[in-house]
């Protein structure tokens, strides 16, 4: 067994999940300065959309029974739908509010979704098996890697490149990039605000659905709280990547994944429970060194 490739695959697949979640948050932050704390609940919502509503401990597959070719697009659409709906019902009413009020209302929305899930599905985590075959290990360059890790890495690369193409080549993409750069100016120059914002929410929700599918396959558990932790890491990744910078969010997501895997392996045994404390200390250090973010664009610097 070879330790270094093993470590590499662990880091890349964890980082891939973080990167995708961070993209979902960065997309929305870019166009409307909203830190969307409900993103983690979009993930949980997509997970629970897979199973039949009941509070029993054993999950009965509902959407999850469908073949992958049908399941994947349907679940992505589900994620996009809830994100767009939440924009329409909540955030559209708050367009002119200050960022703090928007952030708190996104938290309140997350709270509502979470408790609605709790009311319908009960608070016990449920065992759920989606594509269990994907966890069988395969041997790659001397490391035994679950197939899923490879799929995660490939999916992330695929999603990021498709998104890059979308942003670079299509009209909506162009408008989104313009909006992320300077929303007011973009609107003055004829960017359709509602189209851009709805598009950003739809993409962000689809990203949440992708994260949900990966997490369910990996852990085999459906838990109402499963979105929270990953959302926070993604949020941090968005900031240290440079706010409003989509490539920055992806890079920082991978970086956080890599650092936490390396810390897990490198720390002495007695310090290992404190891994996250070391991780977050590094986050503060990175912010102190580069307050604008590691990969910030030149325009992100405040002008005086």
């Amino acid at each position: 067994m070879n330790a270094v490739p093993q470590l590499f695959f662990d880091a890349a697949s964890l980082g891939g999940i973080y990167a995708m979640a961070a993209l979902g948050i960065a997309l929305i932050f870019g166009v409307m300065n909203l830190v969307n704390f409900a993103h983690g609940e979009y993930i949980a919502f997509c997970v629970f959309a897979l199973i039949v509503p009941s509070s029993d401990a054993v999950a009965v597959m509902f959407l999850g029974k469908a073949p992958a070719i049908l399941l994947i697009p349907v679940l992505l659409a589900f994620g996009a739908l809830i994100a767009v709906a939440s924009e329409y019902v909540v955030f559209r009413q708050l367009r002119n509010a200050n960022p703090v009020a928007m952030m708190i209302s996104s938290f309140a929305l997350g709270f509502v979704i979470q408790n609605a899930l709790l009311a319908v599905y009960g608070s016990r985590p449920k065992a759920i098996s989606l594509w269990p075959d994907l966890n069988t290990p395969v041997s790659v360059v001397g490391a035994s890697v679950p197939l899923l890790q490879l799929i995660v890495i490939i999916t992330t690369l695929l999603v990021v490149s498709v998104l890059a193409l979308l942003l670079k080549k299509t009209r909506v993409g162009l408008e989104m990039r313009a909006a992320a750069e300077n929303f007011t100016m973009a609107r003055l120059l004829g960017v359709r605000a509602n189209v851009v914002i709805t598009g950003a929410f739809a993409l962000s929700g689809a990203m949440a659905a992708a994260v949900a599918m990966i997490m369910v396959t990996q852990t085999g558990v459906a838990d109402v709280r499963m979105g929270g932790q990953i959302m926070l890491v993604a949020f941090i990744a968005t900031v240290i990547g440079g706010l409003g910078s989509l490539p920055g969010a992806v890079a920082a997501g991978f970086l956080i994944g890599a650092v936490s895997v390396v810390l897990q392996a490198a720390l002495p045994l007695e310090a290992r429970p404190f891994r996250d404390a070391f991780l977050y200390t590094l986050v503060i250090v990175s912010l102190l060194l580069r307050p604008q973010g590691l990969f910030a664009s030149a325009s992100a610097k405040p002008r005086v």
Binding site: Q93, A101, I104, S105, F111, N115, A119, L232, A277, Y280
Partner: protein, 355 residues
């Protein structure tokens, strides 16, 4: 004789008096009902008042949203547990405490003050680094601080009891003790907000660049307010521990961070009155809905909300308040006594006026 400016400064001092009167009335009404569980709810509410007012001293004046204050709360709460728990209990549950701490058995008040001071000291050290940042980077750094505190306190087995709770704290923090601390916090917040440092800090909140150009050292004033704020949030942690009797690192994590921020924003982040009113309104609302969930009798028929409806309703109400009044219930204004216009008029007409 009194010019408008001085009159305004004097009127600003009526804000804490009004707020303290409101808190006192709140406790008096609740003790008048003689209901034990309502009295507990009042103590919890006043602890949150202390916390949110402490949070406001920093967030309201500087405009930087902090996710880290629950960390100061945890530091205060555990410090008081180390100082006041009986030595036998500490020997059993917290074996790795240093000997002088393991044998300490302090009275409540000094333990509370020292715990608050420890939180303030941590605020000074952490703030010295974090407050070099501004805007959302500073908020993320405060969040990272919270995560560090939570990770350390939930894994430092022999000193904090890790995730198995610390039990056996003396439950002396009833509605009167918490009322006194809430009033102290309100008074301190009002005095700070109207001091030179508080005014300078609010100038930076409105416009960083203009304030810096006028010679305001933003870093120093932010640090000062964070230290003061750390003290009161630390004290609120002490009170929470001595009200529940049990400490667990996860009661000082994301749940309390968000609900208190929500109270602050719903009340109105721009004013001290907003902080106090936000806590009172949301706490009363939550308590009312919880009771409604258990079922109430109206004219012989029993009505009950389905379980889980309370949280969902609270979330929806919060969103509605923010949509209808994005600047919070108070809209950033303070409660004040009305101006004594007659005094100004009289002083113009009769120069020999007594005031």
């Amino acid at each position: 004789m009194m010019d408008t400016h001085r009159q305004n400064r004097l009127r600003a001092l009526t804000t804490p008096v009004i707020l303290i009167a409101i808190l006192l009335a709140f406790v008096l009404i609740i003790t008048a009902t003689g209901d034990k569980s309502l009295a507990r709810m009042a103590a919890q509410t006043l602890i949150r008042v202390t916390f949110v007012v402490g949070l406001w001293i920093f967030v309201g004046n500087s405009g930087v949203v902090s996710f880290g204050h629950a960390g100061f709360m945890a530091i205060g709460a555990y410090c008081s547990a180390w100082l006041t728990l009986r030595p036998q209990m500490k020997g059993m549950f917290l074996p790795d405490l240093p000997p002088w701490l393991a044998s300490a058995e302090w009275p409540h008040l000094p333990a509370t003050v020292v715990s608050g001071l420890l939180a303030a000291l941590v605020a000074l050290i952490v703030g010295a680094a974090i407050l070099r940042l501004s805007g959302i980077a500073a908020s993320i750094a405060t969040f990272a601080f919270l995560a560090i505190v939570n990770t350390v306190y939930s894994n430092w087995e022999g000193v904090t009891g890790a995730t198995s709770s610390v039990v056996g704290l003396d439950r002396y923090a009833d509605e009167w003790v918490t009322l006194i601390w809430a009033c102290v916090a309100v008074a301190a917040a009002a005095i700070y907000a109207n001091s030179a440092s508080g005014l300078a800090l609010r100038a930076t909140r409105e416009d960083e660049v203009a304030a810096a150009a006028s010679g305001v050292n933003m870093y120093r004033h932010r640090l000062l307010s964070l230290v003061l704020s750390g003290f009161f949030t630390g004290v609120s942690g002490v009170l929470l521990g001595h009200s529940l009797g049990v400490l667990n690192p996860n009661s000082f994590y994301l749940g309390i961070t968000f609900i208190t921020l929500a109270m602050l924003v719903v009340g109105g982040i721009g004013s001290l009155s907003g902080a106090v009113i936000g806590v009172l309104v949301l706490s009363v609302l939550i308590e009312g809905l919880v009771r409604f969930e258990r079922g109430i009798d109206i004219g012989g028929a029993s009505f009950a909300l389905p379980s889980g409806a309370q949280e969902i309703l609270i979330g929806i109400i919060m969103i509605l308040v923010l949509i209808i009044r994005p600047t919070g219930l108070t809209g950033g204004r303070e409660l004040r006594l009305p101006a004594f216009r007659w005094r100004v008029r009289h002083s113009k007409q009769e120069p020999q006026s007594t005031n």
